[in-house]
């Protein structure tokens, strides 16, 4: 994992505290991801524009 990512995680935790740490740790529960787990990653990241709309950004 790149240093920039580790720093970004640290900042996230500084801002949001323990819940952010727990969220990330929960995601790290998957030791041996399957192809389905990897496929599911495609749905994780919404298009950038959705965050600037008035509705909630859960679209892809």
């Amino acid at each position: 994992m790149e240093l920039v990512m580790i720093i970004a995680i640290g900042e996230l935790i500084l801002k949001h505290g323990v819940p952010a740490a727990l969220l990330i740790l929960r995601e790290w529960d998957v030791e041996n991801p399957t192809l389905e787990d990897i496929e599911a990653l495609k749905l994780r990241v919404p298009r950038p524009e959705t965050f600037f709309r008035k509705t909630t950004p859960n679209e892809n």
Binding site: I9, K42, P57
Partner: protein, 131 residues
């Protein structure tokens, strides 16, 4: 100050755990998967903060366009990385592993670029909000 110390200690504990977990994780796919899920979480949080700041009028339309432009590159790099990981997982070839590694590096690089744009804007917004 106590709150800050508590948060700092949480960060330190987490970072130490992260280093041990990453050191202990033998599988390339496992490591790559963790990197991508974490990247997605951090991206969502960062972009949500930018979106909130924009809706509060703390980020201009010009800055919003800048953010979307870089975030678009991140989105593309992230999905390319997921596909590269999927291809590696199906084939287990050395060549595909190298491609997946390169794709992961690109995701981190672009995310760093995105953060360098968003962070000062959000900080500027927080300062405006607090003044």
């Amino acid at each position: 100050m106590n709150k800050l110390k508590k948060r700092m200690s949480v960060v330190v504990v987490f970072l130490v755990m992260a280093i041990f977990i990453m050191a202990g994780c033998a599988s390339f796919t496992g490591n790559a998967y963790k990197t991508l899920t974490t990247s997605a979480t951090v991206y969502e949080s960062t972009m949500a903060a930018a979106g909130d700041a924009y809706k509060q009028g703390l980020i201009t339309d010009e800055d919003k366009a800048k953010i979307i432009s870089i975030a678009d590159k991140y989105w593309t790099a992230y999905h390319a990385s997921v596909i590269a990981l999927e291809v590696y997982e199906r084939t287990k070839s050395t060549a595909n592993k190298s491609k997946a590694e390169a794709a992961l590096v690109e995701v981190s690089r672009v995310y760093g670029e995105l953060l360098s744009i968003i962070r000062p804007l959000i900080k500027k917004g927080e300062t405006s909000w607090n003044s």
